[in-house]
């Protein structure tokens, strides 16, 4: 057991820190042109797609270096390394694994250069958690698929250029996981219509996406026809370490502690309230557990041992922290906690906004109950639902 980094890993951390000191001004000083400059600088460093092989333009960083990069970026509250979160997280890895050479050349550089934004067409009105039951139909006619159907809760659809789309090419199958085909579709294709949906925080970043006789050339199919489920599963299994998230959570805990120090309840300092102290301790224990869980799982990967579905453990912690920390801050600060803005809002209303924004994080990658199913079935070996 050893928590030290090798000299070359330490040197890498220093390199990241020096870069950030030079190129990352404090949030308030980041002007209009900042983001474009930032994206091209981190791209030049090879840090975009840092886990990807060099032959595809990635950085080929080791697992530990990837963790260091994420940790430092989160620690310094840096913006993302690319504009297409989904492109970098699973569309790119999916194309590298299943795509044709032509697809790789066509799509990968644009993801790395933040030229193209991707969204993900998985959920449908009748199929969310039960994803494999999707019904959006793709019919092969000559050298095209003709797509008809509807997706929903499609995050980023209002500004995406492309969508990775799960369709059904075969309906008479014994297992619903068969007969699914994965297509890459431009959002400006004729017959694609996006209708944004307003969420409870007042944002319009997810949408319904309708497909009416949309023609998709066969060369835009990712993987084999009928094998789209495997493509999806292994792309989503491209689990990213949670270390960057843990650093973010620690930063939020610090903000919460500062809020406690600045708050009085019933005329007395909130920091002296045993119930408040206990909640702060509980949050810290969960975040610290995420940190050390993450390091144990990283160690497993470094040793070449297969990870099962352990990452669901930290997803569940993240989900409950996401909900409970904001909810606690809102309650802690009384009427100031329920102001979204204005002079009297606690911390400018940021906790109130978080208290309305958690579903995007908590439900997006699979609801907590789906994570529990995964743990129970894949790790504990309990019978499937």
């Amino acid at each position: 057991m050893d928590f030290d980094y090798t000299p070359s890993e330490q040197a890498f951390r220093n390199e990241v820190r020096e870069f950030l000191a030079e190129n990352l001004p404090p949030p308030k000083e980041r002007g209009r042109g900042f983001l474009a400059g930032w994206l091209s600088k981190v791209r030049a460093k090879g840090w975009v797609g840092f886990s990807w092989p060099k032959e595809y333009g990635g950085g080929e960083g080791s697992l530990t270096e990837q963790a260091i990069l994420k940790e430092e970026m989160a620690l310094h509250r840096a913006p993302p390394l690319g504009t297409s979160f989904m492109g970098l997280a699973w569309v790119g890895p999916g194309i590298m694994q299943y795509g044709t050479d032509e697809q790789k050349q066509r799509f990968i550089p644009d993801i790395l250069d933040s030229k193209v934004n991707w969204c993900t067409g998985y959920s449908e009105p009748n199929h969310g958690s039960d994803l494999a039951a999707i019904e959006t139909k793709a019919e092969r006619i000559g050298d095209h698929y003709v797509v008809n159907g509807q997706k929903i809760w499609t995050t980023g659809a209002p500004w995406a250029d492309w969508i990775i789309l799960l369709t059904r090419t075969q309906f008479d199958v014994e297992r619903k996981h068969d007969g699914i085909t994965c297509l890459l579709v431009p959002m400006d294709a004729p017959g694609v219509e996006v209708r944004p949906i307003e969420n409870m925080a007042g944002e319009r970043n997810f949408a319904e996406v309708f497909f009416t006789d949309v023609q998709v050339p066969v060369e835009n199919r990712l993987g084999e026809e009928g094998k789209g489920w495997q493509v999806t599963i292994s792309a989503l299994a491209n689990e990213r370490s949670s270390i960057g998230e843990v650093t973010q959570m620690f930063a939020r805990l610090d903000s919460l502690k500062a809020l406690v120090k600045a708050t009085r309840r019933q005329g007395r300092p909130a920091a002296e309230d045993p119930a408040v102290q206990r909640r702060i301790g509980e949050f810290e224990a969960k975040i610290a557990a995420m940190k050390y869980n993450g390091l144990r799982y990283l160690t497993k990967q470094l040793r070449g041992e297969p990870l099962s579905s352990e990452t669901s453990v930290n997803k569940l912690h993240r989900a409950s922290l996401e909900i409970e920390m904001a909810d606690f801050a809102v309650e802690l600060t009384g009427m100031a906690g329920v102001q979204l803005g204005g002079d009297d809002a606690a911390d400018g209303g940021s906790w109130a906004r978080s208290s309305l924004g958690w579903p995007g994080v908590v439900i997006g990658g699979g609801t907590p109950n789906i994570q529990r199913n995964i743990i129970a079935e894949r790790i504990l070996g309990l019978p499937k639902d």
């Binding site: 057991m1 050893d2 928590f3 030290d4 980094y5 890993e9 530990t64 963790a67 502690k257 920091a271 045993p274 408040v276 102290q277 206990r278 702060i280 301790g281 509980e282 810290e284 224990a285 969960k286 610290a288 557990a289 995420m290 050390y292 869980n293 390091l295 144990r296 990283l298 160690t299 497993k300 470094l302 040793r303 352990e310 453990v313 569940l316 912690h317 109950n369 994570q371 529990r372 199913n373 743990i375 129970a376 079935e377 790790i379 504990l380 070996g381 309990l382 019978p383 499937k384 639902d385």
Partner: protein, 359 residues
């Protein structure tokens, strides 16, 4: 960066687990918990000593193996899995106390005897049942000790007691011969963690080790870490027992583990065990390699484990239904352990608030 066990540590774990399976099945655990078969107990203690478990953290120059708490961690975890009633935890705590707080003569006098299993220590730090603080130590110190030390862990059977005393603001650890003290067993929820009350009447300590309040904190933290390490194994045993039952018990035409009311609770147990396991391993590592971080690390681990294992103990019984309530079935033994774990060396409330106070 490597937060995992070495080949040697894994072999040690295998050895302890095999020993527990062969020598300490639940029938033996139950008998020893009732105080039956003292010869068997003595023989098992000698085997544990011969296997080197009691010498693990004792420095080599005092007849020990010279390893660290993170090595001891695998032994304690497996002890917990089997609910081993032998005082391995108290031996470790006594060794840690004497190695840290004793002078050279005292270390030479006691550490080798702990390592060999000859000196069997019971430990009594706090007189107050729920006050982890120097003020919770009441027994008056001095050349002759007179008074009562309640809640002595592993006091029976033992050859020696390590008890905390106070003279004004000065704290000390006194080593006394159990034979010179009136020790009575106290009935407690968990028979595998025997508690005794010690009444001292002008007893002359064999040795006295002056300690600071930081030393007292350190020993408490070591205790909290050790208890949590044992809780990992115990909680995993509950999860395994209950998962197996959920796969085989058929109700409404299905194994009950198919129902989300059951499977989600078991998944939550897994999440909690994974989490306090990670926290406890880090704390065990910190004892030797980052002692400044120990108070926080120990509190994080013990706080999380106290509440989580208490729930696991209850649900382990509850998910079994009526069979879980029977004396014959082992689930109840773990429930009893979880009650003891919760209170030993500070409960969740104490440790969570201690974390908050650290800022």
């Amino acid at each position: 960066m490597d937060f995992g066990f070495s080949e040697e540590q894994n072999l040690l774990r295998e050895q302890v687990r095999r020993f527990m399976a062969d020598e300490l099945p639940s029938s033996t655990v139950r008998a020893l918990a009732l105080g039956e078969d003292p010869e068997r107990r003595a023989a098992l203690w000698q085997q544990a000593a011969d296997l080197g478990w009691l010498a693990l953290i004792v420095p080599e120059r005092f007849g020990g193996v010279g390893l660290k708490w993170i090595d001891l961690a695998v032994v304690l975890e497996e002890c917990g899995r089997a609910l081993c009633p032998l005082p391995v935890l108290s031996a470790a705590q006594a060794a840690a106390a004497i190695a840290r707080c004793g002078n050279e003569d005292q270390r030479r006098a006691w550490l080798a005897r702990i390592a060999s299993g000859e000196a069997v220590f019971g430990i009594g730090l706090y007189d107050e049942p729920n006050w982890i603080d120097p003020q919770g130590v009441r027994l008056a110190g001095g050349e002759l000790l007179t008074g009562t030390k309640p809640f002595v862990q592993d006091g029976i059977p033992s050859t020696h007691l390590l008890v905390a005393t106070r003279t004004g603001d000065a704290l000390a650890l006194a080593i006394v011969a159990t034979a010179e003290v009136e020790v009575t067993a106290q009935p407690a929820v968990d028979g595998t963690k025997p508690t005794a009350k010690a009444v001292l009447d002008a007893v002359r300590p064999l040795d006295t080790l002056p300690i600071s309040s930081a030393d007292l904190d350190f020993l408490t933290d070591c205790g909290a870490v050790a208890v949590t390490l044992e809780a990992i194994g115990a909680a995993e045993a509950v999860l395994e027992l209950t998962s197996e039952y959920a796969k085989t018990r058929i109700q409404f035409d299905n194994p009950i583990g198919k129902y989300q009311g059951v499977k989600h609770r078991l998944a939550d147990m897994f999440v909690d065990i994974e989490s306090f396991k990670s926290l406890a391993y880090y704390a065990a590592w910190a004892v030797d390699d980052a002692v400044d971080e120990l108070p926080r690390a120990a509190s994080l681990a013990k706080a999380y484990a106290s509440d989580a294992f208490a729930r696991i103990g209850i649900d382990g019984v509850g998910l079994h239904g009526a069979i879980g309530y029977t004396a014959e079935y082992d689930a109840q033994l773990y429930l009893k352990r979880s009650k003891w774990v919760r209170s030993a060396f500070g409960d969740a409330d104490f440790h969570y608030r201690r974390i908050a106070a650290m800022g």
